[in-house]
Amino acid sequence: MDEVGRRFECEEYFVPEMLLSSRAMKASMEIVRPLLAATGAEPVGRVVIGTVKGDLHDIGKNLVASMLEGGGFEVIDLGADVAPERFIEAAATRNANLVALSALLTVTMPSMKTTIDAFQSAGLREKVKIMVGGAPVTQRYADAIGADGYSDSAGSAVALARKLVTA
């Protein structure tokens, strides 16, 4: 998936090719995962991902989830339109160390802040790193809402995730 990401970044691959690669990767992982587990190999990190409350646009999130899985992360994909409490519950019960929030619309971006604030209120903010992304999201916005990281593409999201979980 690193190579797929590289081709996507330089516009040799596009979303259909990414999703096709993702499908092949997932099918392969079904075979490989038990073998990896038998060796005791640990994932690079455990990430809970979803689009925030009110946002049903999930294609960008799906690309990032595939890239993260291909990059060695265990991905807990909550889907689209995810309420803050669902992010919190999944992060707590699955012992995740990373949360990835996606939004495509300017009007749903505030749900990112609501979610981050909810982690604070639940006393879990220090246990997870939170990264954000999506077309209208900016580094400035990520900083303003207290996210730990921002990425503007699926490929760079993997590098960011690796950096965050090793920080």
Partner: protein
């Protein structure tokens, strides 16, 4: 010149007293009018009031019936989630065409029948009555890729390109037949331009765009032009690798989102192709200043050349300072 005269003169390649100004306003217009977006999207009278208000306030050369991509899908019975104050969204996990076999059972809906398509037709009719003598009245339809994604689910459609090409062709054929009828009804109600929004097309590369999408965009656009009105093709997202093909669709206006520099588009198209756009709606327009908005638009104009209409890459975002939109107006009025 009136806004209508200005836009039509630009499309004919004639000189204008200033640049035409056609930014997309939806939530921004609803907020300006003090109405909830659910009412804007559901009631043509609310939409028309807000469109006239935003056009009056900022001197826009047109008004538009665009509101959300879910009108046709709603009338076909797709699952749609409504929100009080943001656009409705199609629920992909319950896509209408999750089963491909259902396509053959779908009929082309009648835009005159009660529903959300008729509500848009009525919006066009009211806008034409209220402001059509001096402003362009824009109707709106979904493009073949976007509409197919709405019905099939965008994630699934992207794989259908590889898995089942005949199905994709049949689906695009259906959507174009539907949108031709929707456009016809809007033109008959008084639309003097039709916008075609084909956002999902920016997700594919040049091979799939040329093979699947462009031929159906061409058919749709040719049919609409046959009704005697010009067409604006708007594709959100990064279209750098398909923009040359967009210039071959026959649309009078190619409306580009900010990731595609207008200079790049100009090099891929003839000098007379009118380009519209395309400052970054969030970073440059909403989060910028009047001075930075003017500078960004000057760069767009420089890159596009004379065949240029002033606008943002996509919708003017909710929360954009009025001074920044006024800067767009002042820029447009100061150039020709």
């Amino acid at each position: 010149m009136t806004g209508k005269e200005r836009i039509l003169a630009k499309l004919r390649g004639e000189s204008t007293d200033s640049l035409p100004l056609m930014p997309i306003t939806m939530m921004f217009a609803a907020d300006l009018a003090g109405v909830r977006y659910i009412d804007y999207a559901r009631d043509y009278r609310v939409l028309a009031d807000a469109q006239v208000a935003v056009a009056d306030r900022f001197g826009l050369d047109y008004v538009s019936a665009i509101s959300d991509p879910a009108r046709e899908a709603t009338d076909l019975g797709a699952a749609v989630e409504w929100f009080d104050d943001q656009p409705p969204a199609i629920v992909e996990s319950r896509a209408l065409l999750a089963e491909k076999s259902k396509l053959v059972t779908l009929r082309v809906p009648d835009p005159a029948a009660p529903g959300r398509m008729r509500d848009r037709v009525e919006a066009v009719r009211l806008l034409a009555e209220r402001t059509g003598s001096t402003r362009i009245v824009e109707g709106w339809v979904e493009g073949p890729c976007a509409m197919s994604a709405d019905l099939r689910g965008v994630n699934t459609l992207m794989l259908d390109f590889f898995d089942d090409a005949p199905f994709v062709e049949a689906l695009f054929d259906y959507t174009v037949r539907m949108e031709v009828e929707f456009a016809r009804a809007q033109v008959e109600a008084g639309a003097t331009l039709i916008g075609v929004g084909d956002a999902a097309a920016s997700l594919v590369g040049p091979k799939l765009y040329t093979r699947f999408v462009r031929p159906w965009e061409q058919r749709l656009i040719a049919a609409i032009r046959g009704f005697g009105v010009p067409v604006r093709l708007h594709i959100c997202g990064n279209t750098k690798r398909i923009v040359e093909g967009m210039g071959q669709t026959g649309a009078e206006i190619i409306d580009l989102d900010f990731p595609t520099p207008l200079g790049h588009a100009r090099r891929a198209m003839r000098e007379t192709q009118v380009l519209l756009g395309n400052i970054d709606p969030v970073r440059a327009l909403r989060d910028g200043t009047p001075a930075s908005v003017e500078a960004a638009l000057a760069e767009c104009h420089e890159q596009a050349g004379a065949a240029y209409i002033c606008g943002a890459g996509c919708e003017v975002p909710r929360g954009t300072p009025h001074a920044n939109v006024e800067a767009m107006t002042q820029f447009a009025r100061s150039r020709s």
